[in-house]
């Protein structure tokens, strides 16, 4: 054993001073940064002058508190402080499509669309009773083409998007663009204060990604996302909604991310390129203590969707395997306890691949598994060549499963009794390769109850999200 090295202040200072020296100069750093920020936009948030802020806040408090106080005194009893109009609203995207020059040609199997253009999209919101949707904000940027670069999910090739997500308190919406103004944006429910939270340059013009493309933390303070979006294995990031500061939590994630209900952990699928499989990983929200919950120990097995149960005790996840001749195949919906125990399959075992069939193989959902808020059921998107995309609902104990309705995306109502879904675009005239001349209602929004009945249309739209 060598002698103990005395640690004096002077020796520590000398050691650190040696390390603090380096070949790059501060002038170089400033020069490089100045060049870089020429192309970096600032977050578009108006900064109140300090003096105005100091006066404004007390004034606002007085204006806000005084009527409430008077109302309380007059009413005589406390009422629910949450304005009813912010609860249970549905937000979705309305895009305008053209086939110009017509007709568009759509290939259902590959999902490719030729000739389809999206001339603009906007985010709207409505109450569940379906009164005329109110515009929230126009989606920034323009889209050169609808057909995307991710053919593994046919939906991404046919819709302009973006997918939208309510903040947990229902006061704001977040969405992510993949056009010529790529980034994560947040906007107030009334359309005010549109802010580009993160500029995601490498997503430029990659087309609509596989939803969901971002995830709010339960406290609304952070958003998790994968970036860059193109490619299979990319870093997992978290951005602070208040100041836009980003942190990378992992460098091998796939597009499957979900916060635990208490916000302390994030579940995601980590990719292992060398052995061609993904594993279910849970990481602390500060990026420490990553734990592999489930190791799919067969090559070619990938986790394509996951969701925490509302009580945080379990994670439901969807697995697919790369098919040998007919493409990716759904391998099952699975349930695992949050501590990594009690792994079991939910629902019936999928039928084996049918070689040479050319169709009728149940494909994996493109990243959509959603637990109903009451914890009783799990919904997922499945699609195959015969039926197209459908919602499959299974009881959380795995006892019963049924196909609910045709849909590409969906969300549960806050009480779990209804589902809002987006259906379309469908195959046209039952042709595997068809032509489209009309783009009206390219995708439409419908509300159904959990048994698939009592359907009510909300009009054209895509990517609905039901606020808590």
């Amino acid at each position: 054993m060598s002698a103990l090295i005395p640690l004096s202040d002077a020796r520590l200072t000398q050691a650190l001073a040696r390390r603090a020296a380096g070949p790059h100069t501060a002038s170089e750093l400033v020069r490089d940064v100045q060049a870089a920020v020429e192309e970096v936009p600032q977050r578009s948030r108006w900064v109140w002058p300090a003096t105005v802020r100091r006066l404004l806040l007390p004034a606002l408090l007085l204006v806000a508190v005084l009527p409430a106080l008077v109302g309380f005194l007059l009413a005589g009893r406390a009422t629910d402080s949450t304005p009813p109009s912010t609860r249970g609203e549905i937000a979705f995207v309305q895009a305008t499509y053209l086939c110009d020059p017509g007709p568009c040609r759509i290939q259902v199997w590959s999902g490719r669309v030729e000739g389809l253009q999206a001339v603009g999209s906007r985010i709207v919101r409505t109450a569940a009773d379906g009164v005329a949707p109110m515009p929230v904000v126009d989606v920034p940027g323009t889209l050169d083409r609808v057909a995307g670069s991710m053919p593994t999910d046919p939906r991404s090739d046919r819709l302009a998007g973006p997918d939208v997500a309510w903040s947990p308190d229902g006061s704001r919406l977040a969405f992510r663009t993949f056009n010529d103004a790529p980034g994560i944006y947040i906007v107030n429910r009334d359309g005010s204060d549109l802010t580009r939270l993160v500029d995601l340059k490498q997503d430029r013009d990659t087309g609509m990604g596989t939803p969901p493309s971002l995830a709010w933390s339960p406290d609304g303070a952070h958003i998790a996302y994968i970036y860059p979006y193109a490619g299979r294995y990319q870093p997992l990031w978290v951005v602070d909604v208040a100041d836009g500061v980003t942190r990378q939590l992992d460098d091998r994630a796939t597009r499957v991310v979900a916060w635990s209900p208490d916000g302390s952990r994030i579940a995601f699928a980590r990719s292992y390129r060398n052995v061609d499989l993904t594993k279910l990983v849970v990481i602390e929200a500060d990026g420490t203590d990553a734990t592999v919950l489930e190791a799919a120990d067969r090559r070619g097995y990938h986790i394509t969707a996951l969701a925490w149960s509302p009580d945080g005790s379990h994670i439901a996840f969807e697995r697919r395997t790369d098919g040998e001749s007919v493409g990716p195949s759904f391998e099952g919906l699975w349930l695992i306890a949050a501590d990594g125990t009690m792994l079991r399959r939910l629902g019936p075992e999928p039928p084996p691949l049918r070689r040479g069939a050319g169709c009728c193989v149940l494909m994996a959902g493109g990243g959509t598994v959603k637990w109903s808020p009451d914890g009783r059921r799990i919904g997922r998107i499945a699609h195959d060549q015969e039926r197209g995309s459908v919602i499959v609902v299974i009881e959380a104990d795995g006892a019963e499963e049924h196909v609910l309705a045709p849909a590409d995306t969906f969300d549960w109502s806050p009480d779990g009794s209804r589902i809002v879904l987006a259906d379309g675009p469908r195959r046209i005239d039952d042709a595997s390769v068809g032509e489209v001349t009309s783009t009206e209602d390219w995708s439409s929004i419908t509300i159904v109850d959990v048994n698939g009945s009592d359907a009510r249309s909300l009009g054209p739209g895509e990517f609905p999200d039901w606020s808590p």
């Binding site: 020296a21 940064v33 100045q34 977050r43 900064v47 208040a242 942190r247 990026g287």
Partner: protein, 196 residues
């Protein structure tokens, strides 16, 4: 650059030695202007701070490339997020918090292989060589500390900031700053014992 063994790095500009608190107050108008997209104001804001950021990143990350990238990303992020900074007087604390996060990200990305700098070619006298061996052991122990512990030791030993300034930098009470510095130092001593 080191002026001589045992001395702290010479400042790269006179402005670099300005205390954090005074600079923050004087620069509040620059922060406001930079937050409105004024590139020149932003350049004037970061020029006196760049050297300290770079030194601190080097101390924490022990790797020139990582340190340069972390410092660069910190300043770019500062530019992008400046409009969201509510109080211009908190710019320095906010900036250094960003640096700590960037350093943490860099360490997380790095593989667990200690890099050996092959660049040193100068011939050392026996006395200097022995001292460097001792300092290398100290640095190896230092690398066992958390990013926050490395950061507070860097502010105290490399930047020679008074504790009151360090407390302001970290946004914590003076007593807490003292306690954290003492705790980091104790942990370093224990880590040094483990390096034997």
């Amino acid at each position: 650059m080191l002026v001589g063994m045992g001395m702290r790095p010479a400042p790269e500009s006179v402005a670099d030695v300005a205390s954090v608190g005074v600079a923050a107050t004087l620069d509040a108008p620059l922060v406001e202007r930079a937050a409105h997209g004024d590139h020149e104001a932003f350049a004037r804001l970061i020029e006196p701070r760049a050297a300290r950021l770079l030194r601190t990143a080097r101390v924490i990350l022990a790797n020139e490339a990582d340190a340069y990238e972390a410092a660069q990303e910190t300043l770019i992020a500062a530019w992008a997020s400046l409009p969201g900074l509510r109080d211009a007087n908190h710019f320095d604390a906010w900036l250094h918090r960003t640096l700590v996060n960037k350093c943490r990200d860099a360490l997380r990305k790095r593989s667990r292989v200690r890099e050996i700098d092959l660049g040193a070619t100068e011939v050392e006298t026996p006395d200097i060589a022995d001292e460097h061996v001792a300092q290398d052991a100290i640095l190896a122990a230092f690398d066992r500390l958390s990013v926050e512990e490395r950061y507070i030791l860097a502010l105290h030993h490399v930047e020679d900031l008074p504790l009151a300034t360090i407390a302001g930098q970290l946004g914590i009470p003076l007593g807490t700053a003292k306690s954290r510095l003492w705790s980091a130092r104790r942990k370093l001593e224990r880590a040094l014992e483990a390096e034997r």
